[in-house]
């Protein structure tokens, strides 16, 4: 294969990672050889990162903060905490490795604080010890011209419980990847997500759950609503290895096209090597119920309000899994506020 011509964004990223070690070196090498991913890469076929990054040419700074202070690259969290990904304008890289010790219970509230034009590539490695419980509540409320690419890898030991609830409003391109290794044997994974995309926004939710041990439970529920000229992408995969008998895994994606010019692409996949499992996936796209809309307007609600109520009631369910009342209500309020502006 001949050498590729790098875009300014790619050159900046290559320079930024010059002399780096471990995963950074591997990431640099991939950009040198292939550039940023385009639609031609199967895993990126609906999210052209190379194209989205046009116009972003400088390097910036990004970091993870824990409870307001710069976080160490590796840390142990054994009590409720707030994690923030902060990024300036420009291309940046951030990484954090988090250990949740066996037997502890943690609620991690995660925020993205991105400047206009920020293009952070972030990596999270999370390990749950035996019997640990982690509830990760992620608010991805980012400027329209930012490009957050966040890849989380989560290792869930037996008896552990991992719960993730994500609220995403998209941007020029938002890519949220979650890759879970699920040990089974009493371990449970719940993946909930809501995306609401206003005109011009793009959000890509890509996840894999690999069941490696027997008797694991996974429930995934992603719901979205997409306005005209916005694009929602869901790529979900459950992989059940041969040793993972009696796996119980269910994946559901449901989304509303708020306009004929909305785009939603979904690819739910099951890859099963065990014979005694219960695995299912469902994917359904729909539109606002016009009859309900008329009924509500006949009772005096404005069209905007009636639509907002219908969309909210459609989207709300995945946020119900948030155990903390205050946190759940906070996210619901943010969603409601954003719905007031949706057309």
């Amino acid at each position: 294969m001949g050498a590729i011509t790098h875009t300014p964004a790619e050159k900046t990223l290559i320079d930024l990672l010059d002399g780096a070690e471990d995963w950074r070196a591997a990431a640099r090498d991939a950009v040198v050889r292939f550039g940023l991913p385009t639609k031609r890469a199967e895993a990126w076929k609906w999210s052209d990162l190379r194209r989205a990054s046009h116009g972003i040419e400088t390097a910036g700074q990004a970091e993870f903060r824990l409870n307001g202070a710069t976080a160490a690259d590796r840390l142990t969290i054994d009590a409720d905490a707030e994690l923030e990904l902060a990024a300036e304008a420009g291309i940046s890289v951030a990484s954090i490795e988090i250990d949740i010790p066996a037997g502890t219970r943690v609620v991690l509230k995660e925020r993205y604080s991105l400047a206009e034009g920020a293009f952070p590539t972030a990596r999270l490695e999370i390990t749950l010890g035996e019997g640990a419980e982690l509830e990760r509540v992620v608010l991805c409320d980012t400027p329209e011209n930012s490009i957050p690419v966040v890849r989380s890898r989560v290792v869930v030991a037996k008896q552990a419980h991992y719960r993730q609830a994500t609220l995403t409003f998209g941007s020029k391109l938002t890519r949220n990847e979650t890759h879970i290794t699920h040990a089974g044997e009493g371990a449970e994974v719940e993946l909930g997500g809501v995306y609401l995309l206003e005109e011009g926004r793009h959000a890509d939710f890509t996840s894999t759950v690999t069941h490696t041990g027997p008797g694991g439970v996974t429930h995934q529920l992603l719901k979205g609503a997409v306005a005209a000229h916005a694009q929602g992408v869901f790529q979900g995969k459950f992989k059940v290895e041969q040793a993972a008998q009696q796996t119980d895994a269910k994946m559901t994606h449901r989304a509303l096209m708020l306009d004929d010019r909305a785009e939603i692409d979904a690819k739910p996949e099951l890859e099963i090597y065990a014979d005694d499992v219960q695995c299912a996936h469902g994917n359904a796209l729909g539109a606002i119920d016009e009859t309900a809309l008329f009924y509500m307007r006949q009772r005096g609600l404005s069209e905007v309000k009636a639509r907002a109520m219908l969309i909210e009631s459609f989207l709300a369910e995945p946020l119900d899994m948030i155990s903390d009342d205050v946190l759940r209500e906070e996210l619901a309020a943010i969603l409601r506020q954003r719905l007031g502006a949706i057309r």
């Binding site: 016009e290 309900a292 009924y295 509500m296 009772r299 005096g300 404005s302 109520m309 009631s313």
Partner: protein
Amino acid sequence: MLKINNLHNKVETQDGEEKVILKGLSLEVPAGEVHAIMGPNGSGKSTLSYVLTGRDGYEVTDGEMEFLGEELGELEPEERAAKGLYLSFQYPVEIPGVPTITFLKEALNAQRTARGEEAMSAPDFMKFIREQAKALGVSMDMLKRPVNVGFSGGEKKRMEILQALILQPKFLILDETDSGLDIDALKTVAEGVNTLRSDDRGMLVITHYQRLLDYIKPDVVHVMANGRIVKSGGPELAHELEAEGYDKFIGEAA
């Protein structure tokens, strides 16, 4: 109060064809009166209710609809509602995820705000809805459930009347409110409707059967066929229809 003159409308069917339904309908309901519309299936009764309340897709091609001195044609459904027009749906719609109480509070206050009135406070609203629900035999438990979800046909009709009691509209269109009701439920619902009868309120009661009109006594009965009113008369007309059927009127309309 409500004046309809020479009303024509059309809808677009699923195969993209135009269908004319109302073909020159005229009708006038003065304040304080209850008028009934009777007519066979497919004569355009529900269509009239949708055209009056402004449903998308029910295009007026000719004629006028005047409510309280104002032409309705240009108003959005919610503007018509705030002016006091209320439709009790033939098939009430289920709205999953939206509790009935929340829905009604939002609707009432949206109407009030549109009219330049003050919103009703949450405690006042709860008191009000509790009283009205009790009168109609609707439990608070039902009100906490999502709008119409899982309700029987009869419960839905009861809820439609409860909503009218909460919203206190100036004009009610009841589209086959009697269908799906047993005789006891019919009496309760009719009582609810009768409490709304007053000198400054009008009603249009659409029904198939004379039965409902034994409980909600109309001042005038209109017979509708093929998109038009073909005959109008006093309450005795309902009995005549019941005894003789619609056939002779349909003959007149064709």
